[in-house]
Amino acid sequence: MISKIRLIIQNISFIFLTYGGKLGIHLGYSLPCFSCPYVGGCAGNCYLMALQGNYGFEIAAADVFSTWGERALLIFILFLVLFMLLSKLWCGWICPFGTLQDWFTSLRRKLGIAETEFSWKTRDRQKIIKYILLAALIIIPLCIANFGLHSDFKMPFCQICPAKPIMPLFCGETRHLSLDFTNSITLSFTILSMVITGGLFVGIFFKDRFFCMFCPMLALMHIFSKIGFIHFKKSVNTCQGCGNCKRMCPVDIRDVYLEKENKDVLTEDCMLCLKCIESCPGDSVLSVKFFNLNIFSSSRKYLADKCGRLHGK
């Protein structure tokens, strides 16, 4: 039931955020998801663009208290409000780029191809990458604005983000799938972008939510996750450790399974897809709450009914 609702919301969000602009809708520059601004007619912009651009860290120190600074602050506050309202549901339920990855996963499953596995150690090592990307997309614009770094380094993350060449394809735009020979910087960026995009296609086909493991938006969200209204709780004393949560997690989070003391299990890679809650056979062992209001809890009966429906399919 929940997975079906999620699928519907994901698909509607994808269409809305990709084509909504054509109907004159624009939700601003603060969206906490990969609604790519390079898509002609998108219904809102990914906040990472603002963060690394003129409404973020590309403001010179002298302009911090000018209207540019005010705007940047306003956009950031709006990002925070949007994030606090839905927390990481943005990633698991709304992000169009996440939905695209889920389509590839569905295709792989239909073909009966096994998902690629990473060892626990590799998975731990990967976690740092998204913070490095986040740091880069803050430091480089600061250097452009204040230390004379070449302006072709502008929007460093967007220049290598695989969403930039891929998402505009849904509007028939292919121009970002090309090399820019203007100078060595633009050429390097576009070559890197093509390599990452090619690697991403392979990655998202063989691994669920491959890109999300490196997504700097998740890193940014995690910094503010404590102030979000959505909480993901585990009743540590009633978990029987069946491991379903770990196995069903698209990004291989094992903390929910292993946690025995801390009740808050919203980890840095979690995108609240709720698959772990759906597959938990313990009544109310896992639950997601809006403040103290229960949105969805694990239930043995729910899982049994879901499993029962698989027979004959």
Binding site: T238, G241, C242, G243, K260, P281, D283
Partner: protein, 408 residues
């Protein structure tokens, strides 16, 4: 020659005694007021627990002997094999094995060996025997029962569940089991067959869950619940599920609830026809409305739900379901077992735990000490009953259980 004749005579006599023991138990169950005819297929299947040859005839599938609950039933089903749970419950069968075993041997092992020795033909019935290394008794079973090792397939059980090594080792064991079954059957496992089998067992779990709900509501007695679950490894899964559906339907209409005091039963397996503990608990005025016994509720600790429908993904789901989800005391860190007990006690308002230990069943005995402390610390009543398959201690146990009931 004379020795052979004597051997066959003893074998014949004990075989008849085993059959009588089973038939007597079946008759006593059938004569209960709450017995319904829909349960007949389960009792018929339980009769096969002492006749692997007849089970083979009935299902027309090669039979695989199986210890414990760690080898995935889904895998056998996918290979069109019929599992036969070797863990024996017959007291009479022990007459054929006592002389070959240490004095304080596990009654389950004694009984199993006795059943297998009750007919020389039985050894040839099994296509193979699968032994997950859960305890020393099953590890040494081959040696004690004088089986040739190549006839058997051991699955080395990692005793630590919550680390990557344990997880991977068990998955490798399952993949090796798949290869082994493919080899002895001369076929290659098809992904679709495995998927269908997993789905069949998931459907069975759904109805098993409904049965547990009935049990929690005191709609079905522990004895009848146990025969349904005990019959599980001797029936074809869709047949078991369909029969269970019919039973649930009937009991849902059955308005009269069991008035006995609800208790939780933990500990060693209870295997047909030795249902002594359940008989005595009932006689003492209590009803087991929940348990964590591997021959009962724990036969399905949860569904092997999956997302990845590739063969590897399904094997991973089975690996987790039969390893991580299992709370057998053989594992090193088993705090989650106590979590499960507390959870069930709280949810169902049960305040007494009867802990069943079979003399010689070491893992359950060892863990009883820590479980007892934790349960008593939380303010619940706890009693440990140590017994085996003999009938002589019935009165003694009954008196203790009645006294325990008075404290609840």
């Amino acid at each position: 020659m004379e020795n052979n004749i004597r051997h066959y005579k003893i074998q014949n006599r004990v075989r008849k005694q085993i059959e009588k023991e089973c038939m007597d138990k079946i008759e006593s169950l059938k004569s209960r007021g709450d017995y319904i005819d829909e349960l007949d297929p389960f009792l018929n299947a339980l009769f096969f627990s002492i006749h692997p040859d007849k089970l083979q005839e009935k299902t027309s599938r090669p039979v695989v002997g199986l210890f414990c609950i760690q080898a995935p039933f889904e895998l056998f089903d996918a290979f069109k094999l019929q599992p036969f749970k070797l863990c024996g419950g017959s007291y009479e069968a022990q007459h054929l094995s006592t002389s070959k075993l240490p004095a304080l041997a596990c009654p389950i092992i004694k009984s199993t060996m006795g059943i297998l020795n009750s007919d020389d033909h039985y050894r040839n019935v099994f296509k193979t025997i699968i032994i997950p290394t859960t305890c020393d008794w099953v590890v040494k079973f081959a040696e004690l029962a004088e089986y040739n090792i190549p006839e058997l397939h051991f699955m080395e059980l990692p005793h630590i569940k919550e680390n990557e090594k344990g997880e991977q080792r068990w998955l490798l064991e399952l993949l090796e089991l798949k290869r082994f079954l493919g080899k002895i059957m001369g076929i290659r496992l098809k992904r679709k067959d495995l998927l269908n089998s997993v789905n069949r067992y998931l459907a069975a779990w759904k109805y098993f869950n409904k049965l547990i709900e009935l049990r929690r509501d005191n709609n079905i007695s522990a004895l009848l619940f146990t025969i349904i679950v005990n019959a599980f490894p001797f029936m074809e899964i869709e047949n078991w599920t369909d029969t269970l559906k019919a039973v649930i339907k009937k009991y849902e209409m059955y308005k009269e609830k069991i008035k006995h005091r609800a208790i939780f039963l933990a500990g060693a397996p209870i295997v047909f026809p030795n249902l002594k503990m359940l008989d005595l608990i009932e006689e003492a005025g209590m009803n087991v409305t929940a348990d964590d016994i591997c021959s009962s509720e724990r036969i399905f600790p949860g569904g092997a739900c999956y997302d990845d429908t590739s063969e590897h993904g399904l094997m991973k789901a089975l690996s987790d379901r039969y390893h991580k989800a299992c709370i057998c005391p053989t594992y090193a860190d088993n705090t989650r077992r106590v979590n499960g007990i507390f959870n069930t006690l709280e949810e169902n308002g049960i305040n007494g735990v009867v802990y069943h230990v079979l003399k010689g069943c070491h893992p359950y005995d060892i863990e009883s000490i820590s479980v007892e402390k934790k349960i008593k610390d939380r303010g619940y009543r706890f009693i440990k009953i140590e017994t085996d398959y003999v009938d002589e201690d019935r009165q003694n146990i009954l008196t203790r259980l009645e006294a325990f009931n008075n404290t609840l």
